[in-house]
Protein backbone atom coordinates (compact mmCIF):
# COMPACT_ATOMS: atom_id res chain seq x y z
CA UNK A 1 0.00 0.00 0.00
CA UNK A 2 3.02 2.27 0.02
CA UNK A 3 3.45 4.63 -2.90
CA UNK A 4 6.15 6.93 -4.16
CA UNK A 5 4.33 9.79 -2.53
CA UNK A 6 4.31 8.30 0.93
CA UNK A 7 1.74 6.41 2.90
CA UNK A 8 -1.77 5.90 1.68
CA UNK A 9 -4.23 7.78 3.84
CA UNK A 10 -6.11 5.71 6.36
CA UNK A 11 -9.79 5.88 5.54
CA UNK A 12 -10.77 5.88 9.18
CA UNK A 13 -8.71 6.08 12.32
CA UNK A 14 -9.43 2.61 13.56
CA UNK A 15 -7.70 0.30 11.14
CA UNK A 16 -5.56 -1.52 13.70
CA UNK A 17 -6.45 -5.09 14.58
CA UNK A 18 -6.28 -5.27 18.38
CA UNK A 19 -7.01 -8.37 20.43
CA UNK A 20 -10.52 -8.66 21.89
CA UNK A 21 -10.79 -6.90 25.22
CA UNK A 22 -7.52 -5.02 24.86
CA UNK A 23 -7.63 -1.20 24.94
CA UNK A 24 -4.23 -0.53 23.37
CA UNK A 25 -1.39 -2.69 22.17
CA UNK A 26 2.25 -2.12 23.04
CA UNK A 27 4.56 -2.76 20.12
CA UNK A 28 8.21 -2.64 19.20
CA UNK A 29 9.97 -2.15 15.87
CA UNK A 30 13.55 -3.41 15.59
CA UNK A 31 15.67 -2.23 12.68
CA UNK A 32 17.87 -5.23 11.87
CA UNK A 33 20.15 -3.05 9.77
CA UNK A 34 21.43 -1.43 12.95
CA UNK A 35 22.04 -4.51 15.09
CA UNK A 36 25.73 -5.11 15.77
CA UNK A 37 25.20 -8.28 17.84
CA UNK A 38 26.76 -6.75 20.96
CA UNK A 39 24.25 -8.44 23.31
CA UNK A 40 23.90 -5.31 25.44
CA UNK A 41 20.11 -5.78 25.27
CA UNK A 42 20.55 -9.39 26.40
CA UNK A 43 22.66 -8.34 29.37
CA UNK A 44 20.38 -5.42 30.24
CA UNK A 45 17.43 -7.81 30.39
CA UNK A 46 19.30 -10.54 32.21
CA UNK A 47 20.71 -8.30 34.92
CA UNK A 48 17.29 -6.78 35.46
CA UNK A 49 15.04 -9.86 35.43
CA UNK A 50 16.71 -13.26 35.09
CA UNK A 51 19.68 -13.48 37.42
CA UNK A 52 19.44 -16.43 39.80
CA UNK A 53 16.36 -18.03 41.37
CA UNK A 54 16.17 -20.73 38.70
CA UNK A 55 16.36 -18.20 35.85
CA UNK A 56 20.03 -18.51 34.95
CA UNK A 57 19.45 -20.40 31.70
CA UNK A 58 16.68 -18.03 30.58
CA UNK A 59 17.17 -15.21 28.12
CA UNK A 60 13.90 -13.32 27.84
CA UNK A 61 15.83 -11.22 25.32
CA UNK A 62 18.37 -12.99 23.15
CA UNK A 63 20.23 -12.05 19.97
CA UNK A 64 20.88 -14.86 17.54
CA UNK A 65 22.78 -15.06 14.28
CA UNK A 66 20.68 -15.79 11.22
CA UNK A 67 20.86 -18.09 9.39
CA UNK A 68 21.41 -20.25 12.47
CA UNK A 69 19.75 -22.63 14.89
CA UNK A 70 19.01 -19.90 17.41
CA UNK A 71 18.01 -20.08 21.05
CA UNK A 72 16.71 -22.50 22.08
CA UNK A 73 18.37 -24.61 19.37
CA UNK A 74 16.06 -25.22 16.38
CA UNK A 75 13.19 -23.32 17.98
CA UNK A 76 11.72 -22.76 14.53
CA UNK A 77 11.06 -26.52 14.25
CA UNK A 78 9.51 -26.88 17.69
CA UNK A 79 5.85 -26.44 16.72
CA UNK A 80 3.20 -24.36 18.44
CA UNK A 81 1.11 -21.48 17.12
CA UNK A 82 -2.13 -21.79 15.19
CA UNK A 83 -3.12 -23.98 12.25
CA UNK A 84 -4.61 -21.04 10.35
CA UNK A 85 -5.81 -17.46 10.61
CA UNK A 86 -9.11 -18.57 12.14
CA UNK A 87 -7.28 -19.13 15.43
CA UNK A 88 -9.52 -22.03 16.39
CA UNK A 89 -7.06 -24.92 16.29
CA UNK A 90 -3.54 -24.89 17.65
CA UNK A 91 -0.54 -26.73 16.24
CA UNK A 92 1.08 -29.25 18.58
CA UNK A 93 4.39 -28.11 20.03
CA UNK A 94 7.34 -29.52 21.94
CA UNK A 95 9.09 -28.43 25.10
CA UNK A 96 12.79 -27.97 24.26
CA UNK A 97 15.39 -30.09 26.04
CA UNK A 98 17.59 -28.36 28.60
CA UNK A 99 20.52 -29.05 26.25
CA UNK A 100 18.80 -27.00 23.52
CA UNK A 101 18.81 -23.96 25.79
CA UNK A 102 22.22 -24.71 27.27
CA UNK A 103 23.07 -24.44 30.93
CA UNK A 104 24.29 -21.44 32.84
CA UNK A 105 27.99 -22.21 32.80
CA UNK A 106 30.29 -21.55 35.70
CA UNK A 107 33.84 -20.49 34.80
CA UNK A 108 37.28 -20.93 36.31
CA UNK A 109 37.46 -17.24 37.26
CA UNK A 110 38.91 -18.05 40.65
CA UNK A 111 41.94 -19.92 39.28
CA UNK A 112 42.62 -17.55 36.41
CA UNK A 113 42.00 -14.24 38.15
CA UNK A 114 43.13 -14.86 41.71
CA UNK A 115 45.23 -18.01 41.95
CA UNK A 116 47.74 -17.16 39.25
CA UNK A 117 46.89 -20.16 37.07
CA UNK A 118 48.01 -19.96 33.44
CA UNK A 119 45.14 -21.93 31.95
CA UNK A 120 42.69 -20.08 29.69
CA UNK A 121 39.36 -18.86 31.01
CA UNK A 122 36.82 -21.56 30.21
CA UNK A 123 33.61 -23.11 31.50
CA UNK A 124 34.01 -25.74 34.19
CA UNK A 125 31.71 -28.04 32.25
CA UNK A 126 32.15 -29.19 28.66
CA UNK A 127 29.20 -27.47 26.98
CA UNK A 128 27.99 -28.41 23.52
CA UNK A 129 25.38 -25.74 23.00
CA UNK A 130 24.24 -22.47 24.48
CA UNK A 131 22.76 -19.11 23.56
CA UNK A 132 24.62 -17.49 20.66
CA UNK A 133 26.62 -20.73 20.15
CA UNK A 134 26.61 -20.36 16.36
CA UNK A 135 27.40 -16.65 16.42
CA UNK A 136 28.52 -15.20 13.08
CA UNK A 137 28.51 -18.56 11.31
CA UNK A 138 25.66 -17.65 8.98
CA UNK A 139 25.57 -19.23 5.52
CA UNK A 140 26.92 -18.88 1.99
CA UNK A 141 30.48 -19.20 0.75
CA UNK A 142 33.30 -16.71 0.46
CA UNK A 143 33.19 -14.15 -0.98
CA UNK A 144 29.41 -14.25 -0.67
CA UNK A 145 28.89 -15.50 2.85
CA UNK A 146 26.26 -13.66 4.85
CA UNK A 147 24.62 -13.37 8.22
CA UNK A 148 22.74 -10.85 10.30
CA UNK A 149 21.62 -10.57 13.90
CA UNK A 150 18.09 -11.17 15.11
CA UNK A 151 17.19 -9.83 18.57
CA UNK A 152 14.18 -11.65 20.00
CA UNK A 153 11.83 -11.00 22.92
CA UNK A 154 8.28 -12.19 23.59
CA UNK A 155 6.13 -10.89 20.76
CA UNK A 156 3.15 -10.07 23.02
CA UNK A 157 1.02 -11.48 20.22
CA UNK A 158 -2.49 -10.34 19.32
CA UNK A 159 -3.50 -14.03 19.14
CA UNK A 160 -1.17 -15.61 21.69
CA UNK A 161 -1.24 -19.41 21.42
CA UNK A 162 0.53 -19.63 24.81
CA UNK A 163 -2.53 -18.02 26.43
CA UNK A 164 -4.86 -20.45 24.71
CA UNK A 165 -2.66 -23.40 25.72
CA UNK A 166 -2.91 -22.81 29.48
CA UNK A 167 -5.59 -25.03 31.07
CA UNK A 168 -5.66 -22.73 34.13
CA UNK A 169 -5.87 -19.33 32.42
CA UNK A 170 -2.74 -18.42 34.35
CA UNK A 171 -1.31 -16.63 31.32
CA UNK A 172 -3.25 -13.70 30.00
CA UNK A 173 -3.16 -10.61 27.84
CA UNK A 174 -3.32 -7.46 29.91
CA UNK A 175 -6.35 -5.30 29.15
CA UNK A 176 -4.69 -1.89 29.21
CA UNK A 177 -1.81 -2.56 26.84
CA UNK A 178 -1.90 -6.14 25.58
CA UNK A 179 1.23 -7.23 27.44
CA UNK A 180 1.18 -11.03 27.87
CA UNK A 181 1.85 -11.98 31.50
CA UNK A 182 1.90 -15.14 33.60
CA UNK A 183 0.09 -14.90 36.92
CA UNK A 184 2.68 -16.53 39.15
CA UNK A 185 -0.01 -17.36 41.72
CA UNK A 186 -2.11 -19.28 39.20
CA UNK A 187 0.73 -20.97 37.31
CA UNK A 188 1.42 -24.59 38.30
CA UNK A 189 4.31 -25.19 35.94
CA UNK A 190 2.48 -27.45 33.47
CA UNK A 191 4.44 -25.89 30.58
CA UNK A 192 1.66 -26.06 28.00
CA UNK A 193 2.53 -22.41 27.29
CA UNK A 194 6.18 -23.36 26.72
CA UNK A 195 5.22 -25.89 24.07
CA UNK A 196 2.40 -23.70 22.72
CA UNK A 197 4.57 -20.66 21.97
CA UNK A 198 6.04 -21.10 18.46
CA UNK A 199 8.82 -18.61 19.31
CA UNK A 200 9.76 -20.55 22.50
CA UNK A 201 9.75 -17.35 24.54
CA UNK A 202 8.20 -18.86 27.67
CA UNK A 203 10.65 -20.54 30.03
CA UNK A 204 10.15 -23.04 32.83
CA UNK A 205 11.69 -22.09 36.16
CA UNK A 206 12.48 -25.39 37.90
CA UNK A 207 13.20 -23.61 41.19
CA UNK A 208 9.95 -21.66 41.36
CA UNK A 209 8.05 -24.47 39.59
CA UNK A 210 6.33 -21.92 37.38
CA UNK A 211 6.85 -20.64 33.86
CA UNK A 212 8.19 -17.14 33.27
CA UNK A 213 8.62 -14.77 30.35
CA UNK A 214 9.37 -11.27 29.10
CA UNK A 215 7.08 -8.77 30.80
CA UNK A 216 7.85 -5.92 28.37
CA UNK A 217 9.42 -4.24 31.42
CA UNK A 218 5.92 -3.19 32.50
CA UNK A 219 7.10 -1.60 35.77
CA UNK A 220 9.34 0.68 33.70
CA UNK A 221 6.64 1.70 31.26
CA UNK A 222 4.27 2.29 34.19
CA UNK A 223 6.83 4.61 35.81
CA UNK A 224 7.14 2.40 38.87
CA UNK A 225 10.83 3.21 39.37
CA UNK A 226 12.20 5.32 42.23
CA UNK A 227 11.94 8.58 40.28
CA UNK A 228 8.46 7.87 38.95
CA UNK A 229 9.59 8.37 35.37
CA UNK A 230 8.41 6.27 32.46
CA UNK A 231 11.09 4.26 30.69
CA UNK A 232 11.03 2.05 27.64
CA UNK A 233 11.99 -1.59 28.19
CA UNK A 234 15.63 -2.01 29.21
CA UNK A 235 16.52 -3.89 26.02
CA UNK A 236 15.48 -0.82 24.01
CA UNK A 237 16.91 1.94 26.20
CA UNK A 238 20.27 0.22 26.66
CA UNK A 239 20.80 -0.60 22.97
CA UNK A 240 23.99 1.17 21.80
CA UNK A 241 22.82 1.68 18.18
CA UNK A 242 19.26 2.42 19.41
CA UNK A 243 17.67 0.07 16.93
CA UNK A 244 14.32 -0.27 18.74
CA UNK A 245 11.23 1.91 18.62
CA UNK A 246 8.72 1.38 21.42
CA UNK A 247 5.14 2.56 21.60
CA UNK A 248 1.60 1.50 20.78
CA UNK A 249 0.48 -0.06 17.53
CA UNK A 250 -2.73 1.97 17.70
CA UNK A 251 -0.95 5.31 18.30
CA UNK A 252 -1.52 6.63 14.82
CA UNK A 253 0.80 9.59 15.26
CA UNK A 254 3.71 7.38 16.27
CA UNK A 255 6.38 5.88 14.01
CA UNK A 256 5.39 2.28 14.83
CA UNK A 257 1.91 2.66 13.40
CA UNK A 258 3.32 4.32 10.32
CA UNK A 259 6.04 1.73 9.75
CA UNK A 260 3.76 -1.25 10.35
CA UNK A 261 0.37 -0.16 9.08
CA UNK A 262 1.09 2.57 6.53
CA UNK A 263 4.47 1.95 4.90
CA UNK A 264 4.31 -1.78 5.73
CA UNK A 265 8.08 -2.02 6.02
CA UNK A 266 8.12 -3.39 9.58
CA UNK A 267 7.14 -7.06 9.53
CA UNK A 268 6.41 -9.76 12.11
CA UNK A 269 8.76 -12.74 12.37
CA UNK A 270 7.23 -15.94 10.99
CA UNK A 271 3.74 -14.62 10.27
CA UNK A 272 2.77 -18.17 9.26
CA UNK A 273 2.65 -19.09 12.96
CA UNK A 274 -0.54 -16.99 12.93
CA UNK A 275 -0.12 -15.52 16.39
CA UNK A 276 0.16 -11.97 15.01
CA UNK A 277 3.25 -10.71 16.86
CA UNK A 278 3.57 -7.13 18.05
CA UNK A 279 7.32 -7.05 17.67
CA UNK A 280 8.15 -6.01 14.11
CA UNK A 281 11.39 -6.04 12.15
CA UNK A 282 12.81 -3.82 9.44
CA UNK A 283 14.33 -6.56 7.25
CA UNK A 284 18.09 -6.48 6.70
CA UNK A 285 19.89 -5.15 3.66
CA UNK A 286 23.38 -6.37 2.83
CA UNK A 287 25.87 -5.31 0.17
CA UNK A 288 25.33 -7.14 -3.13
CA UNK A 289 27.28 -10.28 -3.97
CA UNK A 290 30.83 -10.14 -5.35
CA UNK A 291 32.27 -12.06 -8.27
CA UNK A 292 35.39 -14.18 -7.71
CA UNK A 293 37.57 -11.28 -8.77
CA UNK A 294 35.90 -8.92 -6.39
CA UNK A 295 33.51 -7.14 -8.73
CA UNK A 296 30.13 -6.19 -7.36
CA UNK A 297 27.34 -8.10 -9.10
CA UNK A 298 23.64 -7.36 -9.03
CA UNK A 299 22.60 -10.29 -6.86
CA UNK A 300 21.20 -10.09 -3.32
CA UNK A 301 23.74 -11.28 -0.77
CA UNK A 302 21.05 -12.35 1.64
CA UNK A 303 18.78 -14.51 -0.52
CA UNK A 304 15.30 -13.07 -0.76
CA UNK A 305 13.79 -16.51 -0.31
CA UNK A 306 15.55 -16.81 3.05
CA UNK A 307 14.12 -13.49 4.18
CA UNK A 308 10.75 -14.65 2.93
CA UNK A 309 11.07 -17.74 5.13
CA UNK A 310 11.53 -15.48 8.13
CA UNK A 311 9.22 -12.57 7.38
CA UNK A 312 6.72 -13.89 4.85
CA UNK A 313 6.09 -12.79 1.29
CA UNK A 314 5.46 -9.19 2.27
CA UNK A 315 9.22 -8.86 2.73
CA UNK A 316 9.62 -8.21 -1.00
CA UNK A 317 7.38 -5.15 -0.97
CA UNK A 318 8.97 -3.94 2.25
CA UNK A 319 12.49 -4.11 0.87
CA UNK A 320 11.37 -2.52 -2.41
CA UNK A 321 9.71 0.34 -0.54
CA UNK A 322 12.79 1.05 1.56
CA UNK A 323 15.00 0.91 -1.54
CA UNK A 324 12.78 3.39 -3.37
CA UNK A 325 12.84 5.77 -0.43
CA UNK A 326 16.62 5.50 -0.21
CA UNK A 327 16.94 6.30 -3.91
CA UNK A 328 14.69 9.29 -3.35
CA UNK A 329 16.92 10.60 -0.58
CA UNK A 330 20.02 9.87 -2.64
CA UNK A 331 18.53 12.12 -5.33
CA UNK A 332 18.19 14.89 -2.76
CA UNK A 333 14.54 14.31 -1.87
CA UNK A 334 12.82 13.96 1.52
CA UNK A 335 11.56 10.72 2.98
CA UNK A 336 9.34 10.52 6.02
CA UNK A 337 10.14 6.81 6.13
CA UNK A 338 13.90 7.26 6.30
CA UNK A 339 13.48 10.14 8.74
CA UNK A 340 11.69 7.74 11.09
CA UNK A 341 14.30 5.02 10.61
CA UNK A 342 17.15 7.40 11.36
CA UNK A 343 15.49 9.43 14.11
CA UNK A 344 17.63 9.74 17.24
CA UNK A 345 15.17 11.66 19.40
CA UNK A 346 14.12 9.44 22.34
CA UNK A 347 10.87 11.36 22.76
CA UNK A 348 9.82 10.24 19.29
CA UNK A 349 11.34 6.76 19.48
CA UNK A 350 9.67 5.87 22.79
CA UNK A 351 6.05 6.98 22.87
CA UNK A 352 4.68 5.33 25.99
CA UNK A 353 2.57 8.04 27.58
CA UNK A 354 0.24 8.91 24.69
CA UNK A 355 -2.76 7.19 26.26
CA UNK A 356 -2.01 8.12 29.87
CA UNK A 357 -4.89 10.61 30.09
CA UNK A 358 -7.59 8.09 29.22
Amino acid sequence: MSTDDGPAAQADGDGVDLADGVDHQVAMVMDLNKCIGCQTCTVACKSLWTEGGGRDYMYWNNVETKPGKGYPRDWEDSGGGWKDAEHTERKPGDIPEQADYGDAWSFNHEEVMYNGGDQPLRPDSDPEWGPNWDEDQGAGEYPNSYYFYLPRICNHCTHPSCVEACPRKAIYKREEDGIVLIDQERCRGYRYCVEGCPYKKVYYNATQKTSEKCIFCYPRIEGEGPDGETFAPACAEDCPPQLRLVGFLDDEQGPIHKLVEEYEVALPLHPEYQTQPNVYYIPPFAPPQHSEDGETVDVDRIPRNYLEELFGERVHDALDTIEKERDKVNRGGDSELLDMLTDTNPARKYRLEVFDDE
Partner: protein, 271 residues
Amino acid sequence: MSERRAAAVGAVVVVALLLAAAVAGPTAVSARPANEIPVQSVAADEQPQRPTSETWDTVPSVSVPLTSAPSGVPNASDTSVESVRVQSAQTDERLYLRLSWADGTADRNASSPRAFLDAAAVQVPVNTSVRPPISMGSTRNLVNVWYWSADGETEELLAGGPGSTTEFDQAAVETTARYDDGRWTVVMSRPLDSDAANRTSFAVDNNVDVAFAVWNGSEMERSGRKSVSEWYYFPFGPGPQGPPYESILWAVAGLAIVGVALVTIEAVRKN
Protein backbone atom coordinates in the same frame (compact mmCIF):
# COMPACT_ATOMS: atom_id res chain seq x y z
CA MET B 1 -52.84 -86.01 59.18
CA SER B 2 -49.38 -86.65 60.55
CA GLU B 3 -48.07 -87.00 57.04
CA ARG B 4 -49.54 -83.64 56.14
CA ARG B 5 -48.17 -82.10 59.29
CA ALA B 6 -44.73 -83.49 58.54
CA ALA B 7 -44.94 -82.12 55.05
CA ALA B 8 -45.96 -78.71 56.41
CA VAL B 9 -43.07 -78.69 58.82
CA GLY B 10 -40.77 -79.75 56.01
CA ALA B 11 -42.08 -76.91 53.88
CA VAL B 12 -41.49 -74.39 56.66
CA VAL B 13 -37.94 -75.65 57.10
CA VAL B 14 -37.28 -75.43 53.36
CA VAL B 15 -38.74 -71.92 53.20
CA ALA B 16 -36.64 -70.85 56.18
CA LEU B 17 -33.50 -72.27 54.61
CA LEU B 18 -34.25 -70.56 51.32
CA LEU B 19 -34.90 -67.24 53.03
CA ALA B 20 -31.64 -67.60 54.94
CA ALA B 21 -29.84 -68.31 51.67
CA ALA B 22 -31.47 -65.31 50.03
CA VAL B 23 -30.33 -63.06 52.84
CA ALA B 24 -26.84 -64.51 53.16
CA GLY B 25 -26.37 -64.82 49.40
CA PRO B 26 -25.20 -61.28 48.64
CA THR B 27 -22.61 -61.38 51.39
CA ALA B 28 -21.31 -64.72 50.24
CA VAL B 29 -21.14 -63.80 46.55
CA SER B 30 -19.68 -60.27 46.76
CA ALA B 31 -17.76 -59.28 49.86
CA ARG B 32 -18.85 -55.66 49.51
CA PRO B 33 -20.93 -53.48 47.25
CA ALA B 34 -19.35 -52.13 44.09
CA ASN B 35 -17.32 -48.88 44.44
CA GLU B 36 -17.12 -49.05 48.21
CA ILE B 37 -13.83 -48.19 49.87
CA PRO B 38 -14.26 -49.86 53.28
CA VAL B 39 -12.80 -47.91 56.18
CA GLN B 40 -11.30 -50.15 58.84
CA SER B 41 -10.71 -49.05 62.40
CA VAL B 42 -7.07 -49.30 63.41
CA ALA B 43 -5.07 -48.20 66.42
CA ALA B 44 -3.03 -45.04 66.14
CA ASP B 45 -0.04 -46.72 67.77
CA GLU B 46 0.15 -49.12 64.83
CA GLN B 47 1.38 -46.15 62.82
CA PRO B 48 -0.99 -46.31 59.85
CA GLN B 49 0.74 -43.19 58.46
CA ARG B 50 3.65 -45.44 57.49
CA PRO B 51 3.17 -47.08 54.07
CA THR B 52 4.92 -50.22 55.41
CA SER B 53 2.99 -50.47 58.68
CA GLU B 54 1.81 -54.05 59.27
CA THR B 55 -1.61 -52.73 60.18
CA TRP B 56 -2.26 -52.31 56.45
CA ASP B 57 -2.06 -56.12 56.07
CA THR B 58 -5.37 -56.31 57.93
CA VAL B 59 -7.13 -53.66 55.86
CA PRO B 60 -9.09 -54.77 52.77
CA SER B 61 -7.75 -53.50 49.47
CA VAL B 62 -9.84 -52.28 46.52
CA SER B 63 -8.38 -52.43 43.03
CA VAL B 64 -9.60 -49.26 41.36
CA PRO B 65 -9.40 -49.13 37.54
CA LEU B 66 -8.17 -45.88 36.02
CA THR B 67 -8.77 -44.34 32.58
CA SER B 68 -7.59 -41.18 30.83
CA ALA B 69 -9.43 -38.12 32.10
CA PRO B 70 -11.52 -36.23 29.55
CA SER B 71 -9.51 -33.03 29.03
CA GLY B 72 -8.69 -30.47 26.39
CA VAL B 73 -4.94 -30.55 26.97
CA PRO B 74 -2.75 -32.11 24.24
CA ASN B 75 -2.40 -35.92 24.32
CA ALA B 76 -4.94 -36.16 27.14
CA SER B 77 -5.88 -39.71 26.14
CA ASP B 78 -2.26 -40.85 26.34
CA THR B 79 -1.89 -42.01 29.95
CA SER B 80 0.01 -44.92 31.40
CA VAL B 81 -1.26 -45.94 34.86
CA GLU B 82 -4.16 -48.40 34.62
CA SER B 83 -5.11 -49.08 38.21
CA VAL B 84 -4.46 -48.08 41.79
CA ARG B 85 -4.88 -50.20 44.91
CA VAL B 86 -6.77 -48.30 47.58
CA GLN B 87 -7.04 -49.05 51.29
CA SER B 88 -8.62 -46.89 53.96
CA ALA B 89 -8.46 -46.91 57.73
CA GLN B 90 -9.45 -44.66 60.58
CA THR B 91 -8.45 -44.02 64.13
CA ASP B 92 -10.61 -42.03 66.54
CA GLU B 93 -9.08 -38.86 65.14
CA ARG B 94 -7.88 -39.39 61.60
CA LEU B 95 -8.83 -40.86 58.24
CA TYR B 96 -6.07 -42.67 56.35
CA LEU B 97 -5.86 -43.55 52.66
CA ARG B 98 -3.16 -45.80 51.28
CA LEU B 99 -2.71 -45.69 47.51
CA SER B 100 -0.37 -48.04 45.71
CA TRP B 101 0.34 -48.26 41.98
CA ALA B 102 2.94 -49.58 39.58
CA ASP B 103 5.33 -47.10 37.96
CA GLY B 104 8.65 -48.21 36.51
CA THR B 105 10.43 -44.93 37.29
CA ALA B 106 10.32 -42.76 40.39
CA ASP B 107 10.19 -39.21 38.99
CA ARG B 108 11.07 -37.22 42.07
CA ASN B 109 12.12 -33.93 40.57
CA ALA B 110 11.16 -31.52 37.82
CA SER B 111 14.55 -29.90 37.53
CA SER B 112 14.66 -29.48 33.76
CA PRO B 113 12.20 -28.16 31.18
CA ARG B 114 10.93 -31.58 30.12
CA ALA B 115 10.91 -33.24 33.55
CA PHE B 116 7.61 -33.80 35.35
CA LEU B 117 6.82 -35.31 38.73
CA ASP B 118 4.96 -38.49 39.54
CA ALA B 119 1.86 -37.51 41.47
CA ALA B 120 -1.41 -38.75 42.91
CA ALA B 121 -4.57 -37.06 44.06
CA VAL B 122 -7.66 -37.84 46.09
CA GLN B 123 -10.87 -35.91 45.48
CA VAL B 124 -13.79 -35.59 47.93
CA PRO B 125 -16.86 -33.32 47.80
CA VAL B 126 -17.06 -30.32 50.14
CA ASN B 127 -20.76 -31.00 50.61
CA THR B 128 -20.78 -34.76 51.14
CA SER B 129 -24.54 -35.09 50.62
CA VAL B 130 -24.37 -34.16 46.92
CA ARG B 131 -22.21 -35.88 44.31
CA PRO B 132 -20.26 -33.25 42.30
CA PRO B 133 -19.25 -33.59 38.64
CA ILE B 134 -16.32 -36.03 38.53
CA SER B 135 -14.03 -33.59 36.70
CA MET B 136 -13.01 -31.51 39.71
CA GLY B 137 -16.51 -30.51 40.74
CA SER B 138 -18.30 -27.36 39.65
CA THR B 139 -18.66 -23.79 40.86
CA ARG B 140 -21.79 -24.77 42.81
CA ASN B 141 -20.46 -28.10 43.99
CA LEU B 142 -16.89 -27.74 45.17
CA VAL B 143 -14.38 -30.47 45.83
CA ASN B 144 -11.29 -30.86 48.01
CA VAL B 145 -8.26 -32.30 46.27
CA TRP B 146 -5.31 -33.76 48.14
CA TYR B 147 -2.42 -33.56 45.72
CA TRP B 148 0.80 -35.37 46.46
CA SER B 149 3.81 -35.02 44.15
CA ALA B 150 6.96 -37.12 44.24
CA ASP B 151 9.17 -34.22 45.32
CA GLY B 152 7.52 -34.77 48.70
CA GLU B 153 5.08 -31.89 48.61
CA THR B 154 1.44 -32.28 49.48
CA GLU B 155 -1.09 -29.63 48.68
CA GLU B 156 -4.64 -29.37 49.86
CA LEU B 157 -6.64 -27.74 47.10
CA LEU B 158 -10.14 -26.41 46.62
CA ALA B 159 -11.63 -26.72 43.13
CA GLY B 160 -14.86 -25.79 41.37
CA GLY B 161 -14.26 -27.25 37.93
CA PRO B 162 -11.24 -28.01 35.74
CA GLY B 163 -8.43 -25.44 35.94
CA SER B 164 -9.75 -23.85 39.12
CA THR B 165 -7.65 -25.48 41.84
CA THR B 166 -6.65 -23.06 44.58
CA GLU B 167 -4.42 -23.98 47.49
CA PHE B 168 -5.65 -23.86 51.07
CA ASP B 169 -3.48 -21.55 53.17
CA GLN B 170 -2.56 -24.38 55.47
CA ALA B 171 -2.75 -27.99 54.39
CA ALA B 172 -4.41 -30.35 56.89
CA VAL B 173 -3.32 -33.39 54.89
CA GLU B 174 -0.16 -35.27 55.80
CA THR B 175 1.53 -37.67 53.43
CA THR B 176 4.19 -40.34 53.62
CA ALA B 177 5.40 -41.98 50.43
CA ARG B 178 7.63 -44.88 49.57
CA TYR B 179 8.92 -46.17 46.25
CA ASP B 180 9.94 -49.78 46.23
CA ASP B 181 10.24 -52.48 43.60
CA GLY B 182 8.50 -50.51 40.85
CA ARG B 183 5.59 -49.32 43.01
CA TRP B 184 4.66 -46.11 44.72
CA THR B 185 2.86 -46.46 48.01
CA VAL B 186 1.48 -43.24 49.42
CA VAL B 187 -0.42 -42.81 52.67
CA MET B 188 -2.45 -39.62 53.02
CA SER B 189 -4.22 -38.74 56.23
CA ARG B 190 -6.33 -35.94 57.60
CA PRO B 191 -8.33 -35.32 60.77
CA LEU B 192 -11.81 -36.84 60.34
CA ASP B 193 -13.54 -33.72 61.50
CA SER B 194 -13.22 -30.25 60.07
CA ASP B 195 -15.05 -27.05 60.79
CA ALA B 196 -12.95 -24.99 58.36
CA ALA B 197 -14.76 -23.34 55.49
CA ASN B 198 -14.82 -25.48 52.33
CA ARG B 199 -12.94 -28.35 53.98
CA THR B 200 -14.70 -31.70 53.82
CA SER B 201 -15.76 -33.22 57.14
CA PHE B 202 -15.79 -37.01 57.48
CA ALA B 203 -17.61 -36.86 60.82
CA VAL B 204 -20.90 -37.44 59.01
CA ASP B 205 -23.67 -40.02 58.89
CA ASN B 206 -23.75 -40.39 55.15
CA ASN B 207 -21.55 -42.08 52.60
CA VAL B 208 -18.77 -39.82 51.32
CA ASP B 209 -17.78 -39.88 47.65
CA VAL B 210 -14.13 -40.17 46.77
CA ALA B 211 -12.20 -40.35 43.48
CA PHE B 212 -8.55 -40.92 42.59
CA ALA B 213 -6.03 -39.70 40.02
CA VAL B 214 -2.44 -40.67 39.20
CA TRP B 215 0.19 -38.98 37.00
CA ASN B 216 3.31 -40.62 35.57
CA GLY B 217 5.92 -37.85 35.29
CA SER B 218 8.27 -39.62 32.90
CA GLU B 219 5.40 -39.87 30.41
CA MET B 220 4.99 -36.08 30.69
CA GLU B 221 1.63 -36.54 32.39
CA ARG B 222 0.48 -33.43 34.20
CA SER B 223 -2.65 -31.30 34.56
CA GLY B 224 -5.61 -32.87 32.71
CA ARG B 225 -3.38 -35.56 31.21
CA LYS B 226 -3.91 -38.07 34.01
CA SER B 227 -5.37 -41.45 34.88
CA VAL B 228 -8.58 -41.09 36.88
CA SER B 229 -11.17 -43.29 38.58
CA GLU B 230 -14.92 -42.93 38.66
CA TRP B 231 -16.59 -42.01 41.94
CA TYR B 232 -16.11 -44.44 44.84
CA TYR B 233 -17.40 -43.91 48.37
CA PHE B 234 -16.54 -44.32 52.02
CA PRO B 235 -19.44 -46.18 53.73
CA PHE B 236 -20.00 -43.73 56.59
CA GLY B 237 -23.78 -43.91 56.08
CA PRO B 238 -26.22 -46.18 57.97
CA GLY B 239 -26.57 -48.73 55.15
CA PRO B 240 -27.73 -50.82 53.41
CA GLN B 241 -24.43 -50.33 51.82
CA GLY B 242 -24.30 -50.87 48.14
CA PRO B 243 -26.65 -50.18 45.30
CA PRO B 244 -30.28 -50.91 46.25
CA TYR B 245 -30.91 -52.92 43.09
CA GLU B 246 -28.57 -55.62 44.35
CA SER B 247 -30.73 -56.33 47.44
CA ILE B 248 -33.89 -56.08 45.36
CA LEU B 249 -32.60 -58.64 42.88
CA TRP B 250 -31.63 -61.03 45.63
CA ALA B 251 -35.05 -60.60 47.30
CA VAL B 252 -36.85 -61.31 44.01
CA ALA B 253 -34.67 -64.37 43.40
CA GLY B 254 -35.30 -65.63 46.94
CA LEU B 255 -39.06 -65.19 46.65
CA ALA B 256 -39.07 -66.96 43.30
CA ILE B 257 -37.22 -69.94 44.78
CA VAL B 258 -39.58 -70.05 47.75
CA GLY B 259 -42.60 -69.86 45.42
CA VAL B 260 -41.34 -72.73 43.27
CA ALA B 261 -40.62 -74.81 46.38
CA LEU B 262 -44.09 -74.19 47.81
CA VAL B 263 -45.78 -75.12 44.54
CA THR B 264 -43.67 -78.28 44.30
CA ILE B 265 -44.44 -79.31 47.89
CA GLU B 266 -48.12 -78.69 47.36
CA ALA B 267 -48.04 -80.83 44.24
CA VAL B 268 -46.25 -83.66 46.05
CA ARG B 269 -48.78 -83.50 48.90
CA LYS B 270 -51.73 -83.75 46.52
CA ASN B 271 -50.27 -86.94 45.04
